[in-house]
Amino acid sequence: MIRVIAAAAVVALFADDYLLRFLAEILLFGVAVMSLDILIGFGGLMSLGHAALFGGAAYAAAIVARQWGGDLVLMLGTGMATGLVLAAVMGVVVLRSGQLFLLIMTLLLAQMLWEVAFHWRDVTGGADGLRGLPALSLGPWALSGARALFLVAVPLAVVAFLVARSFIAAPIGRALVGTREEPIRMTALGYSLFAVRFRAMMVAGAMAGAAGALLPFVNQYVGPQSVHWTLSATLVIMLVIGGIGSLWGGFIGSAVYLGIQTYLSAYTDRWQLLVGLVFVLTVLLLPNGVAGGVRRWRS
């Protein structure tokens, strides 16, 4: 952890604005992927609606910021509250379903949110999205520069990782793993599958919401693509590349994906071909993702 913080400090001192903003985006996406890992990797709950939690919080933060300013605490609170509410709604609707139905139901719910974002032009800006947001701030200090955004994203990612790791190590996290491995046995031990999975959904929602709330300030924009199911699929791809069930693999996956997207798209429109190739190679050669490969190499 100390090494991570030291590395972040060095990067913050020497990297240029473009790189810092890019790294902040990686960290925010990494937190969202890590929260998805709680559901998929530890709970076996395959979701194609996670962008609704991440992007929904981004919209909520942007809308609130336009009204009351971009106070960091207010933004994080708004994002987490939005993530929690959306996760609660999603959880109540989908968690009594299993496998394929859960996948489809999460996708449909997220698409309903996309419909709202796309058509409620007065509030969400419709297809154009929302731009011209006020600067992020903490009390009297403006956090508008790339360096400040990066220095906000780093502690958020560290805290989110510690919370996720603590959650998985706690009895509720062990129970979540149990519901993935033997749901019938868990019921026979007296655990309510819904209660366990709903709690996991809430933690994932709060985490994705906190990260999503900062995304509009890093990108200086939020649009309907933020809640589209294709972003949910992108988060899953990042998770697979980074390593399912590792938590920190989410950051690797988002770095690989966003790196290809950011740097290769300058040369070709077909950068997604390379993403596809990386995805296939990961599945074939590193079935547990980059994180799994690192674990295997270390052992």
Partner: protein, 246 residues
């Protein structure tokens, strides 16, 4: 003595097939009751109805003087009704200690705690020690033998300190000696728990149970002591076969 578990007129149909037809019997606190019958007799279906995994078409299940027909399976466990399954249902990616700790935490009401480390490992260790598996406590279940997995599988519901424990073929796949050892462990670990035991090895059932219920084609055809059941002509015809069959 008031029965801890009372089944009354349990009937279950799957389409035109009647799996259970007016099944009824009682179990007293601390009593060990064997449930035997040929394949298709309805034993597992009855287990599923008692534990709430299936809903009966008719009849009722009373547990501790309370009708529990509409009570969810997880809630029935909280009332004191625990079970095993025909195949060992364990968590292969967790160690033996963690498997049992999952049950210990549930019993202690600590299974859904958000933060802090996983508890219940001390009690789990004691159970494993009593069962002679202390040296395997930190082994993943996927790396254990079938017999060891079976013992862990049976220790999990036992760790819930149930008032009634339903054991569905706990000795399947075990040698006679392993099966006897497992049942000895179960009786020793929780002498006050009533047992409802299904096993194909009739000698094990007759040797460990106070009473035996014999089923055939979804109906109860005999209830009695092991000696009475062993000597019953209809039971011999339906299940035990030749006079030397058990």
């Amino acid at each position: 003595m008031t029965p801890i578990l009372a089944l009354n007129g349990i009937t279950k149909r799957f389409g035109a097939f009647t799996a259970l037809d007016d099944v009824g019997f009682t179990i007293r606190p601390g009593e060990a009751v064997g449930l035997i019958g040929p394949n298709g007799a309805g034993k597992t279906t009855l287990f599923n109805i008692i534990t709430g995994f299936l809903r009966a078409d008719a009849g009722s299940v009373r547990f501790a003087d309370r009708t529990i027909d509409t009570v969810a399976p997880a809630r029935r466990v909280a009332l004191g009704l625990a079970r095993t399954f025909q195949t060992a249902m364990v968590f292969p990616g967790l160690t033996a200690r963690e498997n049992i700790a999952m049950a210990v935490r549930r019993r202690a009401g600590d299974g859904l705690r958000w933060f802090g480390g996983a508890s219940g490992t001390d009690a789990a260790s004691r159970l494993l020690d009593d069962a002679g598996l202390a040296h395997r406590a930190d082994t993943l279940l996927r790396d254990m033998s079938h017999g060891e997995r079976r013992i862990v599988d049976a220790l999990m519901p036992l760790a819930l300190s149930p008032r009634v424990l339903l054991l569905d073929e706990p000795t399947a796949g075990l040698t006679r000696a392993e099966g006897e050892r497992l049942l000895d462990i179960l009786r020793r670990q929780h002498a006050g728990t009533a047992l409802l035991l299904v096993a194909h090895d009739v000698d094990i059932v007759l040797g460990h149970c106070d009473r035996v219920v014999v089923m055939e084609l979804g109906r109860v055809i005999r209830i009695g002591t092991p000696a009475e059941v062993r000597d019953d002509a209809e039971v011999r015809r339906a299940y035990l076969g030749s006079p030397g069959g058990c």
